[in-house]
Amino acid sequence: MAIEFQPRIVGFLCNWCSYAGADMAGTSRITYPTNIRIIRVPCSGRVDPLLIVKSFQMGADGVLIAGCHPGDCHYTEGNYYARRRFALLKPFLDYLGIESARFRVEWVSASEGKRWSQVVTSFTNDLTKLGPRKALAPEATR
C-alpha cells in the first residue's frame, strides 16, 4: 500500500484568539487533522516573512497564519499590519513558484473552535490534492 502523502503544515497561531480557538476545539472534542504543527505567537503581527519562507525552505508543504478578526486584536493593530504584510507576500511567493494555495491567512476568534477545525481540514485536503512541495536541496550543488 503506497504511503499516502501527508502534507506537513506549519501553523502560526496568535495567542489571544486563534490559539484559544484551537484550544476550544480540543476541549469540545472537535477533531481536526494532525498535519498541522502549531507555533504560538503573541500576535499575527509578530509573524515575520522570514518565518514563513524559512518554513517552506525547511520542507513545509503549507503555512497557515491564524489571528484575531480585524478590530479584536489584543494589541489593537497587530493584525492590521499583518494583513498588509501577507497581502503583499502571497502574490510574491506565488511568483517564486510557491503556489498561493500553500499559504493561507485566516481570522479565527477564541470562540470559533468549530471553524478552526474546518479551516485545518480544508487546508489539509487542498494540500493533499496539490501534492508535496520540492524544497531546494540544502547541500552544495557544485
Binding site: P138, E139, A140, R142
Partner: protein
C-alpha cells in the same frame, strides 16, 4: 619538432576523459563563460580570452563538508569527507595555473590540509596558452606569462586545426600518453601581447607607507561586497560552522572575504578592523605584501577579474602604481 594533436583527436580524447572522469571546461552560461562539468564536449567554448570565474571552486569549493559528526552508542563518530571522483579541468589559462600554485601554498604547507590535497591529487590541469589577451590582463608583470606552462599537467598551444602539446607531469603523461600524439614541425605561434604593470618593490613601499590616508580615500568608493575575493583565483580565507543534516551534523567550510563586516569581530564585540579603510588596506596588503613575503610567490596573478567585476572599479593595477608613488616627495 614538438608533439601535436589534431582537433579531431583532441575531441575524441575529451570524450574518453568525460566517460571515466569528471570533465570540467569553459562553457557558455547565459552571457557568462564559466567552468562547468561537461556532459557534451560540443558545449566547450574555444573563442574566449578567459572565464568569468576562476577554476578555484573545483579545488577549494565555495561550500564543502569537512567531516560529518554522528552520535553513536553513547559516543560521537567523526567521518572525514573524501574526494571520490578524478577530475580534469580543461581550457585553463596560464594565469589560473599560477592561481592554483598560489592556492597550494597555504593549504599544502605543513600541516597539510588533507581535503585540499585530495582535490589537488585527483585533479589534472590542462591549459591552453593565450594567443589573445584582454585589456585587463597583466600576468607577465606578476611572475606569469601568456605561454608559461608551469603549474599545468598538460599545456596546449593552438596552431592550424590542432594543438602543440607540452606534457609536463607524470599525471599529464598518464592522461595523454605519447602514443596518441604525433610530431609537428609547426612553429610555435607568437604569444599574446600583455600589458605590463611595473610592480617592483610595491611591497616595500606598502610597508613604509602603511598609515597613509590613501586607504581611507580608496575606501570611500568601495561598497564592501565580497566580490573581489570570490572572483579572485588566489583568495583563500574561509569560515567554518556546523550544520544539522538529517540526523547527523556536518562541519562545513565556506568562502569568506576580508571585506565583509564581521570578518574580524571577536566575541564580546571588539573588532580591530571595523574601519573600512583598514579593511581595504588588508586586501591589498595581503595580496602585495604579506603573502609574497610569507610564501615567496606573488598572490596576484594578473588575471584582471577583480578589475572587470568590481562594481565601483577598485583597480589593483591603479593601486600598484599609486602605492609606488606613496611617500614620494612633493606628492
Amino acid at each position: 619538432m614538438s608533439k601535436y594533436i589534431s582537433k579531431k583527436d583532441l575531441n575524441s580524447w575529451l570524450n574518453k576523459v568525460r566517460d571515466n572522469r569528471r570533465l570540467v571546461a569553459p562553457t557558455k552560461v547565459d552571457d557568462l563563460i564559466l567552468f562547468k562539468e561537461i556532459s557534451r564536449v560540443e558545449d566547450i567554448v574555444s573563442d574566449y580570452v578567459n572565464t568569468d570565474l576562476s577554476p578555484k571552486e573545483f579545488l577549494f569549493p565555495p561550500t564543502e563538508v569537512l567531516f560529518s559528526i554522528e552520535k553513536k552508542n553513547g559516543g560521537v563518530e567523526l567521518t572525514p569527507a573524501r574526494v571520490e571522483k578524478e577530475t580534469v579541468i580543461f581550457g585553463m589559462r596560464p594565469c589560473d595555473a599560477k592561481g592554483v600554485v598560489a592556492l597550494d601554498k597555504p593549504f599544502l604547507e605543513d600541516p597539510t590540509d588533507p581535503l585540499y590535497k585530495e582535490h589537488r591529487d585527483k585533479t589534472a590541469l590542462v591549459g591552453i596558452s593565450c594567443l589573445k589577451a584582454c585589456a585587463e590582463c597583466f600576468c607577465s608583470s606578476m611572475g606569469s606569462g601568456p605561454d608559461d606552462p608551469s603549474g599545468f599537467d598538460i599545456m596546449l598551444t593552438e596552431v592550424k586545426d590542432g594543438y602543440l602539446v607540452q606534457v609536463l607531469t607524470e599525471k599529464g603523461k598518464a592522461l595523454l600518453p605519447d602514443s596518441t600524439l604525433s610530431e609537428s614541425g609547426e612553429a610555435k605561434p607568437k604569444a599574446a601581447e600583455v600589458a605590463t604593470v611595473p610592480a617592483k618593490d610595491v611591497n616595500v613601499k606598502l610597508r613604509q607607507n602603511f598609515e597613509d590616508p590613501y586607504w581611507n580615500r580608496l575606501a570611500d568608493r568601495c561598497i564592501h561586497c565580497n566580490m573581489c575575493s570570490y572572483v579572485c583565483p588566489t583568495c583563500y580565507c574561509f569560515d567554518i560552522r556546523d550544520y544539522p543534516n538529517k540526523g547527523k551534523t556536518d562541519r562545513v567550510r565556506s568562502w569568506e572575504s576580508c571585506q565583509s563586516a564581521g570578518f574580524t569581530k571577536i566575541a564580546g564585540g571588539h573588532d580591530p578592523r571595523a574601519n573600512k579603510g583598514t579593511r581595504m588596506r588588508q586586501r591589498f596588503a595581503h595580496k602585495l605584501l604579506y603573502f609574497p613575503e610569507q610564501f615567496g610567490v606573488s598572490h596576484c596573478i594578473g588575471c584582471g577579474r577583480c578589475v572587470k567585476s568590481c562594481p565601483v572599479n577598485i583597480d589593483i593595477r591603479e593601486i600598484i602604481q599609486d602605492v609606488q608613488k606613496l611617500g614620494a616627495k612633493g606628492e
